[in-house]
Amino acid sequence: MYTKKLELKKIRKEDLTSIIKWRNDSEIMKYNTQYFLLNMEYEEKWYGDIIKKDSKNKMFVFKYGKDIVGVGGLIHLDNQNKNADVAIILGETKIHGKGFGTKALQMLIDYGFFKMKLHRIGADIFEYNKISVKLFEKLGFTKEGVLNDYLWRSGKWWNLYKYSIIN
């Protein structure tokens, strides 16, 4: 049934509308550090940054068949130390729970290690994001530490987990 391949594609300007929709979805915002709603102004500024050659963020959309279904990439790139963080949003809820997260994350790890020659890829995961904890551990990420009361959400303090994978 899901025979089409998930692909990493360069972000085009016309993808921004979908990306805004995903990023402003309350179910997705919950798991990201973004705390206000984004509009086209912010998104175009962000796009202007990521298409620069020396951008610290290498971003892609995930394409499945004809549709784009998510956005992700390697961010906070530190060339000196061959370090970056991974970010991933699978925006289209209809593709959730079908193993696409595993595929998408694996593609980003491969891109980071083999194309960008990174040494370490880090990830920040909020403690209540059980699905990401499971996914990242499955793909070999190690929990490095817990930042206590790092995050204020829904009227409470929450911990943040630091994960990483070394090439």
Binding site: N39, E41, G155
Partner: protein
Amino acid sequence: MIEGKYVNLRALEKEDLELLKKWRNDKRTRTHTREYRLLNMINQREWFETIHKQNPPTMIMFGIENMKRKLIGVCGLTYIDWKNRHAEISQIMSMDKWQRTKEAKNTLELVIDYGFNELNLHRLWVEIYDTITENIKLYEKMKFVKEGTLRDRLWRKSTWHDSFIYSMINGS
């Protein structure tokens, strides 16, 4: 999108500015905002661009949509002071006597929840001119506390007016 029972809050886009200008220049609105000029699109665009230049922002604004997804107002937090953790609430809606509607009350609930529970602000406040009893009623219904009266704060229609400061403290 911030979802409520009667309204949803969404991001404002450039295309909304024309409608916002119309609301802000409305005779009724002008009696209860600080703005004394009639705004044009240049003022509106400057205002919009300022919002996007700041980091961290001192103003976070939303469009208010009813359940039919129609834009019926604008609201948000202004004068955000991240060090002392306070901000002023701002709200304009398009309906006649909007202060009495369930949409207005729901909007305020969402803005208060966002200010306290997402931004971790400590104090939310509002300044209301004595001429605008609808707003006084609305904020008293929302359990804001009247902190003081600023005497002769406003010159309108050839006379001086007082303004009231109302506030709500997180957790009290």
